[in-house]
Each structure stands twice: as structure tokens, then as C-alpha cells.
Amino acid sequence: MRVDILNALDSNGILKECKASSLKKHIANRLYEVKIPTKKSEKYRYFDIEDFTSKDLEVVSTSKDKFKQQGKSLVIEDGEVVSAPEGVEVEIGEFLDVDNDHFDGLYYLNHLLTQNAIILRVKRDISFNIKHIFNKEEVFLNYRVVIFIDANSFVEIYESIEANSKDSQILSGYDIFLSRDANLKFFKNQTLNENSSLPIFTNYFKVDSNATFKYGTFDFAKSSGLNLFKSELHSNSSFNAMHLLFTTSEIKAGTISEIVHLDKSSKSNQMAKNILTNGSRGIFDALIRVTKAAKYTSAHQNSKAILLDSKSYMASKPQLEIYIDELEASHGSTTGQLDENALFYLRSRGINKAEAVKMLILAFANEAIEFVDNKEIANHIYVDFEKAYYGSSDIECIKTCHECEDMILGS
């Protein structure tokens, strides 16, 4: 299936082409309105979306509903659940309750092509992992995960990707419903191997009243990929996002997002840090919208990029769309080289230039990795960063934490 042909069809034609049930007519209607993105779509301007939409590939979707439920990981291999974590209710079933106002056509396409979503219901405090494995070659792999988190639950999720296939395209994403007073920490390690299949994750998050969502995405990719999300914030809720992108080859990767403050006293803080090299392109196209009902909102957004060569490029577009006066808001974007003063300071202590540059790059990344307050997860991410940066990881305890000092000194 070539997904770009859907733009020539009406909603009935879209339903038929996607082999979706008539219960999904409202989703097809939305796709008809929003359209499959093209190179002219504003949000996809800096990403070669036609590489994704113009290939004629067999669509592979979730079907299997038998899996082991053990340990603390949800493992999804080529869209099929291989194992699910204990303590979480998991079902494979139809999901129709999509966001009716999502900005992304691929969000609706993903839902239309997903006959059965992977649905998780979390009803207690829990920490678990989600691992995606991509093995199938030359397919359009399509699946979707829906997570309901009950009120007052405290949940931590670490997501990682093992991309073994090369010529496939992956369309996936989450619908996450965070109930009142729930607390979710979701850390996504999106690092891909060289020449990996092209993944696009397109998400929808509903953060209910008094809920807190901490969302970190970490991408030290050698292959192109995108993460898109829309996050809706209700009264007194909080959404805190950090995105770290480090690219080492000529690829295009980044974040496209919309954070919508729907009700009063909601808070958002979004920070993107990008380190680009070898002619890569980073993308940060992020909108925060504060609606009329969202008085006393706090909305902050910032993007920082370091370009390590003249061929690399950062497409940074932080945007605020505000309809009220009673709020606190800021946004900013900086793109540049390393801080010369800092570099000189390190060199003036005898540290050679190459090592000083590395220290500053690690420091820039560290600030983002410190967003992860679970040390075990932070270490996984740090190791992946070191592998991407140095080619290997050689963590000494003094580099990453200092709790070992007393042990070393025996005091």
C-alpha cells in the first residue's frame, strides 16, 4: 500500500483502502480533513516525509492475542506482543476513542490501519519497560498502544527500540489517558542503528485534572525518525517534557508537538536539546496553545542546539498561541557553536581541545539526561549516548555518579 494515494480518496474510499471497519468512519473523516502529510505540509517541511508515504509496501498489523504475562516488560516484536508485564491488564482489541482534534494525519492513518490495538490498563503503582523490536524487512509495520492509567496511580515506563530491519517503515504511537491525580514518568530511548527502518511515532496524551506527566525522549540516532505528540492538559495538571537529540550521520530526526492547555492552572515546560553533526538535520516544531479557559496557566518552551559542523542544520520552531492574559509564558530558541569561554577555561587547565569539546558536549547532554530521575534508566540512556558519541561506553563511577566516593574511600 502507498499511503499517499489516500489523499485522492474521500472518507469512504479511505476506509475501504485501509480495510477499516465502518465504526472508524469518524477517523476516516478526520484523515480526509487533515490529509496524509506531503512535502508541502508545514509541520513536515524539514523531514523527507515522501520517503515514508510514497513506498508501496505490504501493511503488517497486530493480530496475535496470545502472549506470556511475566516479568516487567512489554515486548512488541514486529507489532505483535511477545510478552506483557505482570501487574498490568493487557488486551488486544479495537479502539475507537481517538482524539478528534489531532494535528497529524499519520495519527489517524495509524488508527485506521490498526484493527486491534495493544491496550494496557494500569490500576496501581508500577514501573515497567516497553521494548519494540523490528525484524521484518520491506513491510509497512503498523500498530498502536493505548494506555489507561487509573486515578492516583504512580507509573514509570521506560521505552526502548531494537531496530534490526533495514527497509521497512514503522508507524506506531501511543494514546495515553492519565486519570485524575495520576503520575506518569515516561522515558523514551529512541536510539536506532545505522540504516535502520524508518519509524514515525505519533501520539496523543490526555492529562486529566491534577495529574502529572513527565516525558523524556532521547534519540542518539544514526537513522532518520520522528516523534510527534499532542498533549492535552486539564485543570491543575502538569506536563514536563525534555527532548535530547544527538545525531552522528546525515539523517533527519526530531520532535513535532502540540501542547494544549485546556483548563485553568495547568503547567507545561518543554525543553529540547540538540547536538548535530555530520550534515544531519534536527527538527523541533513545537506549539503550545493556551485556550480561553486556561487561566493562570504556566507555559514554557525552549530549544537549544549545538552545531558541530557547518553542514548540519537545526529547524527550530517553538511557538506559543495564547488566547488569555492571565498566564506566565515564555519561549526561546538558540542555535550555535560551543561556548568559547567554557572551552578556553577547560583548556587553560591543561585539557586538550578535543577532550574539552567532548566534555562540553557530554555536559550539554548530561543536563538533559539528568531529567531522568531513575538512576538505572538514566544510566541506560547515558551508556547509549556514550556509545553514540565515543563509539563505546567506558563509564567510570566518577563520571556518572558520586555515591561511590565513600565506598572508594572507605569512609
Binding site: 561556548d339 577532550e355 566534555m359 555536559a363 548530561n366 566518577i398
Partner: protein, 249 residues
């Protein structure tokens, strides 16, 4: 014999000539003090010695331990044994203070053909020195200078100095912004490093630090040149008569 000799140094920042043929020689084991009014070129001199990127040396030579280092990279100057304590130490978020210092110490040890310090040896020495100069232990594990007070930054400079054990130490307004306790602690660190071989160049506006670190020579720097060199008694004259008495008539 001079440890550091500056001959006819001319230097610009941008298009403006700041140092206009400066001569200065630091004797081994001696404490030299440079005093001068604002804009005389004191900080430019310290930056020129350590190879700061802002400074364009247009003429003259900097000879350190007999070697011409005028065009050397800053890290080579540091590894050879030059140390500048900055007037405004830079804050570097994300670079751990202890990790940075260990990297610097081991870079110097490697350069000198010595074995690197292991983590335990390094930490023990660093903690001892920090205690001695009144630097809070929690600052060792924080990002370099980030959120440090003015006094803490200067103490951190002294910690680096004491760990790196340089041959020539340049202190650019180390006393600025320090309260009396911090000034005493910083002076204590400096005096501990006075071993009869190591040379010091203290750049200051005020004589306050000289109550705690006794100088051997005072140099008056005016308009990019050293216009007067004498013993510590020169400070008294300066206090009484101000810099105008040294202006070229």
C-alpha cells in the same frame, strides 16, 4: 633566574592596542604584584600570558622556563606549569567539578610522565585541600562553578591551583568580591604554595590581599606598560598619592 619573562609585549583586543611594549620578569620563588588603574591592561596581560583567544599578540615574546611560548596553545602553557586564576571563573553546567579536576590533574601527570592518580588517591587529596581552604564538600560534586557564590568560585580556583601544583600562578583579582573570611582562606591556600621555587603574579586593584600574602615586588602598570617596579614599600606611596603620581609627565 626568571621563571617567566615578558619582553616588549604588544597586544590588541579587536583593533585596540592594550599592551604597548610591556616588559616584566618574574623571579623564581617570588611574589610579584601588578597594580594599576582601570583599563591599564592588567587583565589583558594575564590573558595574553595564558593564550586567551580574545588577545592578539602583535609583537614581543613570552618566555616561560626558557621556552618561547608566545604562540603555544593554552593547554600546552598549562601543562608546562602556568596557571591563571580567573577574575570571573566561568560556570559550566553539566561538567562535574570533581571529574573536571581529575581530568586536568591526570592530563598534567601524563604530560610529566607520571602515573595517573586513581579515583581514591584523587578524591582523598581533593577533599583534604577543600577542607583546608573552606570549600564545602558538596560543591565538589556539583557542576563546575554553577550556582557557586563569588567566594566559592575563588576558593574553587585555589583548589585547582593546589591540585595542579603549577610553577607560575597568576591571580587575576582573586580578592575581588571576597569577604574577610574568604580572603583569609584564599590567602592561606596561596601561602601554602609558596615554596621558594614557585612564582606568583598577583593582579589587584587594592592592597587588602597584601596584608595576608606578603609581596616581594610591586609593579605599576599604566597604559599598557610597566612604569614602576619597586619593593613592598611602593604600596604605601600608592595608597597616599594614587596612580596619578606615576603618570608619565
Amino acid at each position: 633566574m626568571s621563571k617567566l619573562e615578558i619582553k616588549n609585549l604588544k597586544a590588541k583586543i579587536g583593533d585596540k592596542e592594550i599592551l604597548k611594549g610591556l616588559d616584566l620578569a618574574l623571579e623564581e620563588g617570588k611574589v610579584h604584584v601588578i597594580m594599576g588603574p582601570n583599563g591599564a591592561g592588567k587583565s589583558t596581560l594575564s590573558k595574553a600570558i595564558v593564550g586567551h583567544y580574545d588577545i592578539n599578540v602583535t609583537d614581543g615574546k613570552i618566555i616561560f622556563k626558557g621556552k618561547d611560548i608566545t604562540n603555544e596553545e593554552p593547554e600546552i602553557r598549562a601543562l608546562e606549569g602556568l596557571f591563571l586564576s580567573f577574575q570571573h571563573p566561568v560556570e559550566i553546567p553539566g561538567v562535574n567539578n570533581a571529574y573536571f579536576l581529575r581530568t586536568a590533574v591526570n592530563a598534567k601527570r601524563r604530560y610529566e610522565g607520571k602515573e595517573e592518580l586513581n579515583a581514591a588517591e584523587f578524591l582523598r587529596e581533593m577533599r583534604e585541600i577543600a577542607k583546608e581552604i573552606g570549600l564545602k564538600p558538596e560543591l565538589l560534586n556539583r557542576s563546575l562553578n554553577v550556582g557557586f557564590s563569588g567566594g566559592e568560585k575563588k576558593r574553587n580556583e585555589v583548589l585547582q591551583m593546589m591540585m595542579l601544583k603549577p610553577d607560575v600562578i597568576i591571580l587575576d583579582e582573586i580578592d575581588s568580591g571576597l569577604d574577610i573570611d574568604a580572603l583569609k582562606d584564599v590567602s592561606k591556600g596561596i601561602n601554602k604554595l609558596r615554596d621558594g621555587k614557585r612564582s606568583f603574579l598577583i593582579i589587584t586593584h587594592y592592597s587588602r590581599i597584601l596584608d595576608y600574602v606578603k609581596p616581594d615586588y610591586i609593579h605599576i602598570l599604566m597604559d599598557g606598560k610597566v612604569v614602576k617596579t619597586a619593593g613592598p614599600e611602593l604600596v604605601e606611596k600608592l595608597e597616599k598619592e594614587g596612580y596619578s603620581s606615576f603618570e608619565e609627565k
